[in-house]
């Protein structure tokens, strides 16, 4: 009983497939008769799609080249962690340089102040003279 039902189901499925494929073949025949204007528009659409495929391939290829060349020119083929470390290095060097410049500037200011102090103390003129308004006026006139 079951085998009869199964056989009938299999036969129905086989007939459905044959019927469907036969209709598919007829649809192919009908598709081949697509009007010329539609065929042309499809051709243009296809060409546009191919052009966009080419441009996206070119874009991908040029991006790969830039990245690849960048690595090989500066660092060669480095492992990932080393590449990341090397990428951070310029930032570290920049910060260290700024700290050194600040330190050098402070030292230069201190040394200039020390020079002034030394000159003032070593001079015959007492430092109090510079607080005297008449002496300052004298210096200005002398400079002119």
């Amino acid at each position: 009983m079951n085998s009869t039902v199964n056989r009938q189901a299999a036969e129905a499925e086989r007939l459905e497939a044959r019927f469907g494929l036969r209709l598919g073949a007829l649809l192919n025949e009908q598709a081949a008769r697509t009007p010329h204007d539609i065929s042309e528009r499809l051709r243009v659409a296809r060409e546009q799609a191919l052009a966009s495929a080419r441009s996206s391939r070119l874009l991908t290829a040029s991006t790969d080249t830039v990245v690849g060349n960048g690595r090989s020119a500066v660092l060669g083929r480095l492992p990932g962690w080393l590449f990341r470390f090397a990428s951070v290095m310029p930032l570290v060097v920049l910060v260290a340089g700024m700290v050194l410049i600040d330190e050098w500037h402070d030292r230069a200011q201190i040394e200039a102040a020390a020079d002034v102090d030394v000159n003032l103390l070593a001079d015959d003129l007492p430092p109090d003279a510079y607080s005297d308004a008449g002496f300052v006026e004298f210096l200005k006139e002398d400079a002119q």
Binding site: E16, N28, T34, Q48, A53
Partner: protein, 188 residues
């Protein structure tokens, strides 16, 4: 990665079927052309790096999604669902002898007698019309299985449903087409 030639050959081989399938669904040549063009460009831009063997399945998926997007935009999805439910109610025909009908209709398609009485071109147009009248999911399953010749698993992937659903849709589509073609006098 598919070469330019492989991509060209593939698109050439599917473009007319894709257009027809979309026309059956949206019933508008211009909209169908737009959908096919968008699908081709999407395939070319995003999936051209895939092996050529994968292109058919990917393209069918893109086409289905693009068509669905079009329906969403047109706000006609409710009408499609209505069509599906309409068909379901008419499926319980107690007098319907599947084996007999399929055998007779299948035997009559393309035969000389049918060609003599109606004309082959008219028969083809009639078949197209009946396919266009199928509910959307049935039509999609039928065309993917028997026109694009995808297997059940591939059709299920494209349609985003189970293999059982594909079989059901296909079977219902075949029955509906067989009945309607016989009613139109194509079957003896």
């Amino acid at each position: 990665m598919a070469t330019d030639k492989e991509l060209t050959d593939f698109l050439k081989s599917v473009e007319k079927r894709a257009f027809k399938r979309t026309v059956y669904a949206v019933r508008d040549d211009d909209a169908a052309l737009d959908i096919v063009q968008d699908s081709m460009i999407r395939l070319a831009q995003k999936y051209a790096d895939r092996p050529a063997a994968e292109l058919p399945l990917v393209f069918q998926r893109i086409m289905s999604n693009a068509t669905m997007d079009w329906f969403r935009r047109q706000k006609v999805r409710n009408a499609v669902i209505q069509n599906l439910s309409d068909f379901d109610t008419g499926d319980d025909d107690g007098d319907f002898d599947l084996l007999e009908l399929l055998t007779t209709v299948e035997g009559s398609l393309g035969s000389e007698s049918a060609a003599d009485t109606v004309g082959r071109e008219q028969i083809l147009l009639l078949i197209e019309k009946e396919i266009a009248l199928l509910p959307g999911r049935q039509r999609e399953a039928f065309l993917l299985r028997y026109w694009e010749e995808l297997d059940v698993a591939e059709t299920a992937t494209v349609m985003g449903c189970s293999e059982g659903s594909v079989k059901t849709h296909c079977s219902r589509a075949v029955h509906a087409l067989a009945k309607s073609l016989r009613a139109k006098g194509i079957a003896p």
